[in-house]
């Protein structure tokens, strides 16, 4: 085991030495390499300049659209007004319908009472024909 480690270390050292000693020289680039590169850089710079320049002038930009805050406020106000209106209308409708149903039930109970009373008077008159009375209503 230790022999193997020693061998690995030995090879590692040899390899490192070999790598450091044999870096070699680098091949030259073609003569037009730099000018080609400069042309590309110039084109890039031109493109970048065109992108950063505004497409329309500043006064034009502002006159094109009305004040956005005004519209935003207007929309809030109109939304709140419509909400209040709908709530008020529904409350009014609910109250009216409650009153109507109360009146109807009162009316029907009156009729019912009248009919019961009428029936009881007729019944009593039938039982006592001498002492006949008319229902008082």
């Amino acid at each position: 085991m230790s022999d193997e480690i020693k061998r690995d270390d030995f090879l590692d050292t040899k390899l490192e030495k070999f790598l450091r000693e044999n870096k070699g020289d680098l091949p030259p680039v073609s003569p037009e390499f730099k000018s080609k590169l400069y042309a590309r850089v110039q084109a890039e710079e031109k493109e970048a300049m065109a992108e950063t320049r505004p497409a329309i002038s500043v006064p034009q930009m502002y006159s094109r659209r009305p004040e956005p805050i005004f519209f935003r406020r207007l929309s809030y106000i109109s939304f709140i007004s419509v909400f209040i209106l709908i709530t008020a209308l529904s409350f009014y409708w609910h109250k009216t319908s409650l009153r109507q149903s109360a009146e109807q039930s009162l009316e029907s109970s009156r009729i019912e009472n009248y009919l019961i009373d009428s029936y009881s008077v007729v019944y009593e008159n039938d039982q006592n024909p001498d002492n006949s009375t008319m229902p008082i209503k």
Binding site: E16, L19, N22, G24, D25, L26, E44
Partner: protein
């Protein structure tokens, strides 16, 4: 007109300064990663990426590591799109001939073996041994922890030794 002329001069100056600073680093890395075939194309792409990115450099990272990271991203994009083995010495006129015959041969054998390694192994060996970056700088370039860089370097060397054995190189 005057402003345009001044801008043109400034651009030329900026370009010249940047070129001198970046060129040797890009050439060394790109050649060792992609070989001769597409070296110039990839160098142009790397340079343009660095040129674009230079305005965003805030000085937080090591400038050298930052440059290598951007150049390496261009190299990796190229290698992934091409999926082919780099050829280092196809054109005999471009073979570096400085040094003695044995050194030239060793150099050629080394790159023959390097060409068969994976992109990751090639990148880590190039950065550590040929670009002379330390472990910390390599970990910054590859955005990996130092421990991972160490283990990758170990496996890369192991793979290179295997290739050497296969092509009959004796260290």
């Amino acid at each position: 007109m005057e402003a345009g002329y001044t801008a043109q001069l400034n651009l030329e100056e900026d370009f010249e300064q940047f070129y001198v600073q970046v060129f040797p680093m890009i050439r060394a890395l790109v050649f060792r990663m992609v070989g001769l075939d597409s070296m110039e194309d990839v160098m142009q792409e790397s340079f343009l990426r660095l040129w674009r990115a230079r305005k965003n450099f805030r000085g937080e990272a090591n400038p050298r590591s930052w440059m290598y990271r951007i150049a390496l991203s261009a190299v990796m994009d190229h290698l992934r799109s091409k999926k082919k083995t780099p050829r280092y010495f196809e054109d005999s006129e471009k073979i570096p001939t400085d040094g003695n015959q044995a050194q030239v041969e060793n150099h050629q054998l080394l790159f023959k073996a390097m060409a068969t390694l994976t992109e990751d192994h090639r990148a880590i060996l190039s950065l550590f041994y040929f670009q002379d970056l330390d472990l910390k700088a390599v970990s910054e370039v590859l955005s990996l922890p130092e421990g991972t860089v160490k283990s990758r370097l170990h496996y890369a060397k192991k793979a290179l030794l295997e290739r050497f054995e296969r092509i009959g190189v004796r260290l």
